[in-house]
Amino acid sequence: MGISRYALVAVVLVAWEAAPRLGLVDAGFFPPFSAVIGELWAQGVSGALPRNAAISIGRAAAGFALAVLAAIPAGLLLGTLPTLAECCTPLFMVLAAANPFLLFHVALLFLGIGEAPKITMIAWVCGWPLLFGSMAAMARPDAELLRTGRAFGLGGWALTRRVLLPAAAPAIATSLRLSAGLAFFVLIAAEMMGASSGLGWLVLTYQESYHAARIYAAAVAIAIPGLLADSAFEWLERKLSPKENVYAIE
């Protein structure tokens, strides 16, 4: 564990630094790691990177929050109503398979150019895994937990709040992690398609000026929020998993 885990990452970074410097690859296409970091620093200090990163993160967070607020309650509710869930599931599966980029164009028709179509698209992409995840977690509770809860005299709302919801929490955290990953993937594309701000737009402007080191710097900058969100939700997932989570049955 510890340092040795990241040894390989270090090896890759050293190789990235050495290969262009030794002339093994063309430095014009593949600048050394230090040049990329230098560019990352320069763009960070000039304010271009933080400004656009803040805009992108704001969009992703808004869409994600919208999805959480809409999809998790809906999923939890549908999980407890099996007949309605059976009616809706095939339709939802078709809608979930609908490509977010085609939705983007339809949202553009209804909501006009601006922030709303991008945020709608992110909410749409994030919403389906959350809906299916919370629905499945609620619809198939652990029979033993249920019996234990009932044996302790819990029923109705108390059973839901103290047994079913905590038991569903880890599965919901897993779907949160999945959604958060998708949110950033899709946002960058949306910003490349039609925006005048954000990290996706920034990459495109760097591409137009053929500045390789800046493109790499922007790619690194885009990967960082994704990695952080992934780590945060992984932590949440572990925190909520049965081993560490004491069910609130007293």
């Binding site: 040795s4 890759v12 594309a189 490349m192 790619a219």
Partner: protein, 314 residues
């Protein structure tokens, strides 16, 4: 039970379709922005029948197939090797895989354009990158969860080399590998449409983007519906493979793996040529697609909306 479930599912879909048909006709939603379902379906058939959509469909499917096959060709052997390499190698490689998996494919597109130039290779490379990571993750996981009893008995029977790899390890991990291929394929198709919208001269995504740029609203929905169907068919095909994995553990598994490999090579070898042909066809069909706005005059509603957009709603 299953029949009832099917019926209820069909009911849900039917209600949605009926709403789509009735709402624009009854004026509940603006028919200008949401044409009724029947009109969209008619547009799909017309566009397919007169051949407008065929080269786009062809080029998108080729890109998806080529990207997925290249990703599998890299990720499955690498995953098998990593999975079999033991605990320490896996622990060392895990953070690296995670970082690479988080690298956004769209931020790589400019880089792939630098390396491969404008054209199909850059597109296919991005698609391969997208689907590489799920396949690799699932393959490593699949190999690591193979029943050790199978591996031990194979070893005690003296199975080694390619027979061990294709006859034992690959079939035993095949289910997980196909789960990964399905996940990668889904993500790939998802991203393909986006990539075609950003920078391509053909493909379903480009067609939809072009229709949107020209305000051909029925075409937007028609292309969208077709993309939906293609995505569902791709997922269905990969899911069928996942359910009925064509490999069995044993000498016959080796034959099946070899056969599948040969078929894949034969199928993808002409992919690039086919893509070039389809691209050329699109170019001759529409010499300058983005400039031709051969659509009916905008209605007063359109004009009002456009002027609102330009003045920011005032």
């Amino acid at each position: 039970m299953t029949a009832g479930k099917l019926l209820r599912g069909a009911l849900g879909l039917g209600v949605f379709c009926a709403f789509w048909e009735i709402a624009p006709r009854a004026g509940w939603i603006d028919a200008q922005f949401t044409p009724p379902l029947s009109k969209v379906l008619r547009a799909v058939f017309t566009l397919l029948a007169d051949g407008t959509l065929v080269p786009h469909l062809e080029v998108s499917l080729w890109r998806a197939a080529a990207g997925l096959v290249i990703a599998a060709a890299v990720a499955v052997p690498a995953g098998l090797a990593l999975g079999a390499a033991g605990e320490r190698v896996n622990r060392a490689i895990e953070p690296l895989l995670r970082v690479f998996g988080q690298v956004n494919p769209f931020s790589l597109m400019p880089l792939f354009l630098l390396f491969f130039g404008l054209g199909e290779v850059a597109h296919v490379a991005v698609m391969a990158w997208v689907s590489l990571w799920p396949i690799l993750r699932h393959t490593v996981g699949g190999v690591r969860s193979v029943d050790t009893a199978i591996l031990r008995s194979a070893r005690s029977m003296g199975v080694r080399g390619p027979a061990w790899l294709f006859g034992v390890l690959l079939p035993a991990a095949a289910h997980a590998i196909f789960t990964g291929v399905r996940a990668g394929g889904g993500l790939l198709f998802f991203m393909l449409i986006g990539a075609e919208m950003i920078g391509a001269g053909a493909g379903l995504g480009w067609f939809l983007h072009n229709a949107a740029a020209n305000y051909q609203i029925t075409r937007i929905y028609a292309a969208g519906l077709l993309i939906l169907v293609c995505g569902a068919l791709l997922d269905g095909a990969l899911a069928a493979f996942e359910r009925r994995v064509p490999f069995r553990i044993g000498p016959r598994g080796m034959g099946a793996a070899g056969l599948l490999l040969t078929v894949i090579v034969i199928v993808t070898a002409p992919a690039i040529q086919a893509m070039d042909r389809a691209n050329a066809q699109v170019m001759t069909d529409h010499p300058s697609c983005h400039e031709t706005h051969n659509q009916p005059e905008p209605t007063p509603d359109d004009l009002e909306r456009l002027s609102k957009e330009f003045t920011g709603g005032h």
